[in-house]
Amino acid sequence: MRTEPVLIGVAGDSGAGKSTLIRELSQLLGPDKVAVIGLDDYHSLNRQERKAVGITPLNPRANNLGLFIEHLYRLRQGEKVLKPVYDHDTGDFGDPEWVEPRPFIICEGLHPFCFGVLAEMYDYRVYYDTHPELKVAWKVQRDAAHRGYTVEQVRREIRQRQWDIRGFVEPQWWYADTVVTLIPPADDGSVIGVQLKEPPPGTQHSGSECWVGAQTLKPREAGKIRTAREWYGGREMWVTAITMPLTQEELRELGTAFGITEAVLRRVKGEEAIPFQVLLSLLAARLEQIRKQKESYGRERYAVGG
């Protein structure tokens, strides 16, 4: 019995840390079970042509999203697809490559939820964001080290991009099941924190499981997890913030509350789990649950059909 793959969308600005998240997440889920599709490959114009037309890749019109939808449908049907490949070094397209359907298919890029039809296709949607301070700090680190830019130059470049980001990328958070934000370390702690914003129960597919689950846990009493209800972009969102590392014991408690499997918990090494690791295990648990639901759905349907 064939089970449809779980389609996961990860949206976010370039440089927000999407690829790091996905690399670590696929380690948790099992690298042979995950296929990753980058939306950058679906640019419709190469660098020269974009320059001639006067359009940035942040604009959805410079992307062949029709082909992307077509490919998503085919992967969901269990067919393999021939994906174009965009080479960032040359700014042109390379040879296309085959993508085989696997249990988890993660689509990451600037516009995975660009419009409703596309957003509806996924089983789980993550909007991945990074606090502006962190983004500047990381970009300075990277560009100053490899390309010799100054801090001021980097800030100016970020300012120039911001209108396209605000216009085309940021609005997609509306479709997300979880809005993940990395927040800079608090004064007392030294680790980067994680903030999860979820729509209230009943308004979207997944509801606010983290928020509800976190209400009764020990880490919350110890002040390591904070919960709140906030207005965000004209809508109420339930916020869970993990700002400090959790001990193994606390992580296990979290694990039982959210159904994080033993296999995932075992991979968290060391005595303490930093907030990013907690985020990864929460996401992995959620995706495995969706996978299980799909499998049982397939069996039931098979049984009814005789």
Binding site: S44, N46, N64, L67, E70, R74, E79, V81, L82, P84, D92, F93, G94, D95, P96
Partner: protein, 286 residues
């Protein structure tokens, strides 16, 4: 350049498979009636031709001279029976013409003639020349600012000809993204396996080194073939589709047999082959 080829509706593959089966039967009937011809290479290219003429090519049998049409060049001209059968099934000329293959005075000769057969874009048969013509057509199409595409089907043994690589070099130089070379990689030529006569491998790397975009597919799988044609024109380079095929595909008597490169089936063998193809065709109807 936007994609010219759209993905087919769900039932389309079945339809294409049925067409391919009908074309195979036409080929066997033609060759058995003529008593000579090339069944091996014709049968291996049937799916490629079917995918092109029934889904990919923008051609209209009522206007075979439309300047905006897509061009198809059968560079391996000895596979003419498959081309004739496909053109007839597509409606370029009546199916009854097929009975007169290789007869005196018939338009359908052993190798295709562009002046006599509607829908044939280039007279071919002398191997190695088709891709050069394709380069010229693609270049002309670009100069005329036409959106037309040019597809050339080459045999794998044909790739031993020097002229093929001269054309490959020119196509990459002019960045002809509207040109597609399809290599029917069945691994056999008239004198034996290609790798023993004059080795071609690594064939994909050769095309890549000449500056082409290369896609390797199963040449009998419509899903893969159509995906490959859909990817044409993304990069500013010509595309080479290397289609792995089986010589004499569909008739167990002829599959992977060098002897059947240029030998027509006799009456008995023809009937046996037709029976096998009909059984397979009925299976696709179910």
């Amino acid at each position: 350049m936007p994609s010219a080829v759209k993905f087919p509706a769900p039932g389309k593959y079945r339809e294409l498979e049925r067409k391919a089966c009908a074309i195979r039967q036409d080929v066997i009937r033609m060759l058995a009636a003529a008593g000579s011809g090339h069944p091996g290479g014709s049968l291996s290219a049937v799916e490629i031709l079917t995918a092109l003429y029934f889904h990919v090519l923008r051609v209209d049998p009522r206007q075979p001279g439309d300047p905006e049409r897509d061009r198809f060049i059968l560079s391996k001209g000895h596979a003419a029976p498959a081309l004739y059968a496909t053109l007839a099934e597509r409606g370029f000329f009546p199916l009854s013409w097929l009975e007169d293959l290789r007869r005196l005075g018939s338009p359908l000769q052993g190798h295709p003639d562009m002046r006599k057969v509607p829908g044939v874009e280039m007279s071919t048969g002398s191997l190695g020349q088709g891709l050069s013509v394709g380069v010229g057509m693609a270049l002309a199409g670009r100069i005329r600012e036409s959106g037309c595409r040019v597809y050339a089907l080459l045999g794998d043994g044909e790739c031993q000809e020097g002229q093929v690589w001269e054309a490959a070099m020119a196509a990459a130089h002019y960045r002809l993204r509207n040109l597609v070379a399809i290599v029917d990689r069945n691994g056999l030529q008239i004198d034996g396996p290609t790798e023993e006569v004059l080795a071609l491998e690594p064939l994909a790397d050769k095309w890549k080194a000449f500056g082409w975009s290369v896609v390797a597919v199963d040449g009998h799988d419509f899903g893969e073939l159509l995906s490959a044609f859909e990817s044409v024109g993304h990069a500013r380079r010509p595309t080479a589709v290397i289609a792995r095929t089986v010589k004499g595909k569909g008739v167990s008597l002829m599959e992977n047999q060098v002897d059947w490169h240029g030998k027509a089936p006799n009456r008995e063998q023809g009937e046996q082959a037709l029976k096998e193809l009909q059984e397979r065709g009925e299976a696709t109807w179910r």
